[in-house]
Symmetry: C2
Subunit: 406 residues, 2 copies
């Protein structure tokens, strides 16, 4: 049926770009595979609670869109995104955080992951310096790595990045941008103190370095109180990325970049070249949902569940695995635990999967080979019953491995 000469099945060697060799071995794919096995209780993923997605509200919003003007919603649209949605986002910055955002400063993206890719694309030449927290978000490391930068990391403690190291790094090796998650960081769950935010703004105020403030979790503080973004103290040199994945639904893939017009102009060119525009149907459904539902009340519901689940996980760590030290998040979806000396995170992952509980080894959050004594746990996706059962399984793994070791 096919031309024999050509379909001979011989292996062809493709010559890929150099950047592909810079891609870190990815854990995310493996994660999603583990997450999809229902017999495994997974704390390894980064999923919000499926039970808390307002499927009825979104379904009803979708029906409204299909009734109102489906031909527009299903047609091509502009790169910057659905204007009423951008206005909603800008309004919320003004009312919630006192930051004078306008719709013109908002670009809609496919979740905030796309912000990482496009921002790196417009800023990074090979060999350029990028600053990050240590540990830092693995999705950012993956996205940035493909633009072949050199990473400089600053240790993260419970108040934020170490300012002594931060200031020294910025002076000696000024980075193009510093990427951080000041609110409920991924993986650690740590939140920068307000004092630390001001110090960072101060250090960067006379430089060309941009602070890239990833705010995926700022709506998820357990005390319901928003923290002032670094942009509040360093207006022009800070960009903020945001996402509806954690407060409405990830499957629609809607996030945004909030940046000054000068940056957004280039960002928009990159967005257009990348995929013309984000899913317009879902932009309309999401906007319809937001204006016909009480988002704040929905978020309070999410937060009250996550707070209990986080507390439960922390308590079970303390009760069942006293040899570990763990972070104590003020919000968000993640915490990290430090393993007893000599216990390798990969061993815990492998043994965990055998015992039907998954945690994420810390290595993908480190660009320098660190993280082998760290595990990240997600407390948003599993309910209290599964958290309890999963933590008992994990305790069996940890305590078993610890006793073997000693």
């Amino acid at each position: 049926m096919y031309d024999k000469r050509i379909s001979s099945g011989e292996t062809i060697t493709f010559v890929f770009a150099r950047r592909i060799q810079h891609a870190p071995a990815s854990f995310l794919g493996e994660l999603f595979r583990v997450s999809s096995d229902p017999s495994i209780i997974s704390f390894a993923g980064g999923l919000p609670s499926s039970e808390l997605i307002d499927t009825e509200g979104i379904s009803s919003a979708a029906q409204d869109v299909f009734k109102t003007d489906p031909r527009t919603a299903l047609q091509y649209s502009t790169t910057d995104g659905y204007r009423p949605l951008r206005e909603y986002i800008a309004d919320r910055y003004r009312s919630r955080l006192g930051v004078p955002a306008t719709a013109d400063e908002i670009q809609i993206t496919n979740g905030s992951q796309q912000c990482l890719d496009l921002f790196a694309k417009i800023f990074l030449d090979p060999g350029d310096l990028v600053g990050m927290e240590r540990p830092g978000y693995l999705g950012a490391i993956e996205a940035f790595s493909l633009y072949e930068p050199e990473f400089l990391t600053v240790p993260l403690n419970h108040e934020g990045p170490d300012t002594v190291v931060f200031e020294k790094t910025m002076k000696e090796k000024p980075v193009k941008f510093f990427y951080g998650i000041p609110n409920c960081q991924n993986p650690s769950g740590c939140t920068y103190s307000q004092e630390r935010r001001k110090e960072i703004a101060e250090i960067l105020s006379d430089t060309e370095t941009v602070f890239y403030e990833d705010d995926a979790f700022g709506e998820l503080f357990f005390d319901g109180t928003p923290r002032l973004p670094i942009k509040r103290f360093l207006m022009e040199n800070t960009v903020i990325s945001g996402s509806f994945s954690k407060i409405t639904a990830p499957g629609m893939r809607i996030g945004w970049m909030y940046a000054s017009f000068e940056i957004l102009k280039e960002f928009n060119i990159a967005k257009q070249a990348a995929d013309l525009h984000s899913n317009f149907l879902c932009q309309q459904i999401l906007h319809r949902y937001l204006v016909t539902n009480d988002l704040d009340s929905h978020i309070r519901k999410i937060v009250s569940v996550y707070r209990r689940q986080c507390q439960l996980m922390c308590d079970l760590f303390d009760d069942l695995m006293p040899s570990l030290t763990h972070t104590t998040p003020e919000g968000g979806m993640f915490l990290t635990a430090e393993l007893p000396s000599g216990l390798h995170a990969m061993k815990v992952f492998e043994e965990g999967v055998r015992e039907k509980v998954a945690v994420l080894p810390g290595m993908p959050f480190f660009v320098d080979g660190g993280g082998t004594n760290i595990i990240r746990l997600n407390f948003s996706n599993a309910n209290e019953e599964r958290i309890t059962e999963g933590m008992y399984r994990l305790a069996k793994v940890i305590n078993g491995l610890s006793s073997k070791k000693s």
Copy 2:
């Protein structure tokens, strides 16, 4: 309210990546703006007919998805895409084109524009050679340019790329990949002959060059007969990108890359870093729509309308503007016309907008400053009444400018 020192409004100079200087001045944004002014009859855009989008079918599919398993549709998903949709696409390659595709060789993307970005990302280092048709698709030029390649172009005639030039180029300066649109090319509307496809496959068969076959329009042949893809003659060295934008709805932004596993493995890493995965809700809605509706019958309806509209546009060119020569497409959504000598396409664009008719100047389809005597017209979006009115307006512009010139 804000710290004075920091919010002083002084202009900060951002240091963007070198690639941003390689971005061609974009016409697409301007296009969409022109397209949104209802008083202008626009042949400049690339929109399928809004009237032919099956809003009822898609709405009903959406309701089904919301009734069946909305929590999964609204949650994060895997990077490769919704497997039943990938199986549907692979099935269609097998039944329609006799190409032995499997779901494992299909990666879902945000329209086929994202294929351009991600493919360039995994293949191109700065200075690498890329082959393209002349004229070539502007969206591809925009996407590839950001990876700083050197473009080599091969003149496109009505049978396909000039094979003498093609062979000479491939021998003297082997490109990483050659990008082409064999079916109803954008902008010209030209279709490669089967003979030309075989010749190209022959020339590339012993090389490392990949043929990137953009097949956005292969379902839109006026005679309803599919043409054999180049992949049929050059299996392992060809990738095909496809899109649902032209046969169902662009607003959902669903396309795909069909490639060998070796390429798709790297493509998948780039996709994950770019945005984790494509909109999962719309992948499910689209799949539901495809399995509960008769796509072939829907496509026949689209094609019969586009065929009439294209014929009308060609006839009006011949009747009203005999000084122009235009291509005669066998399908798709576009044709190009060559302006009388001395008449600049930008002049026609500007004068056209004044007369409330928009055409697209040819320059963005050329990487070498060409195209000033070419205009591209879209015949899918405007109905026959508007095509007639628009062509009369265009004739007034063209004939007015021609007489002024002489």
